[in-house]
Symmetry: C2
Subunit: 148 residues, 2 copies
């Protein structure tokens, strides 16, 4: 059982790291890092969104979100302004630069998931993404609950 458990966990991080490398290689030529892609996706798909929503949508700490969005703002992919309703909150908007880039990033994302599930049947692919989502959300909720 020891081998079993160590063996299973290592594939979680392996999949993550190799996916990041795949994305980085392909987005580098476009001038963005792979890690910024999900932020650009959300900004483009939502049009206007308070910053704290990035935390919950990506389940990433507010410190990391602050740093990533500050970087994206400096690089011209988003703009931010203090919310009219709540002086603590920042509204995030995509720039034209981000909107122009968006379809190409979507294409790269698709190529990544296609490569990942290459060799699986359509049924296995759906099953995999369904279970991946379920396990990720289980862990996420558990970790959050612990911090109370």
């Amino acid at each position: 059982m020891g081998q079993q458990s160590s063996g299973e966990l290592k594939y979680v991080s392996m999949l993550h790291r190799k996916t990041q490398i795949f994305l980085n290689e392909r987005t580098k030529a476009l001038g963005v890092s792979g890690a910024k892609v999900p932020f650009i996706f959300i900004a483009c798909e939502c049009g206007k969104l308070p910053q704290y929503q990035f935390c919950s949508m990506l389940d990433i700490s507010k410190g990391t979100v602050a740093k990533m969005l500050a970087g994206l703002e400096k690089e011209g992919y988003i703009t931010r302004s203090i919310s009219a309703q709540d002086g603590r909150s920042m509204d995030v908007f995509p720039t034209q630069k981000a909107l122009d880039l968006y379809p190409r990033l979507v294409e790269i994302g698709c190529r990544c998931t296609d490569k990942m599930t290459e060799g699986l049947t359509e049924e296995e692919r759906e099953q995999f993404f369904r279970l991946l989502k379920k396990t990720a959300l289980t862990m996420s909720r558990f970790v959050e609950a612990e911090q109370d």
Copy 2:
């Protein structure tokens, strides 16, 4: 399809990050970080192993392996010596400290995979780990092949 592809990829990194947080919280009291656990597992399970084998077994870059093993050596979990057969190669050995810790780390690893797959049927659990391994290895081989 855009929503689809961005949505799927984000769970890969979410599962990874939450898993690391889970492990870190539990191994912290034992004096090791979650990221070092796989290295200790391999050292304990193999007894004696050249350093470069850690790279292929974990699919981690040799730079990272060098740094992690240097840390583990300093902290007293492993010892290293130059191979008698090949002056470039380092043989890695677990210390008693690592061997004593090992069963507790295995226990924590099991609790993590149990938590992750909580709510899945036994069949889903097996399916998930099978597909996780398969996708991780697909990405790993592809990324390696590109670097030639």
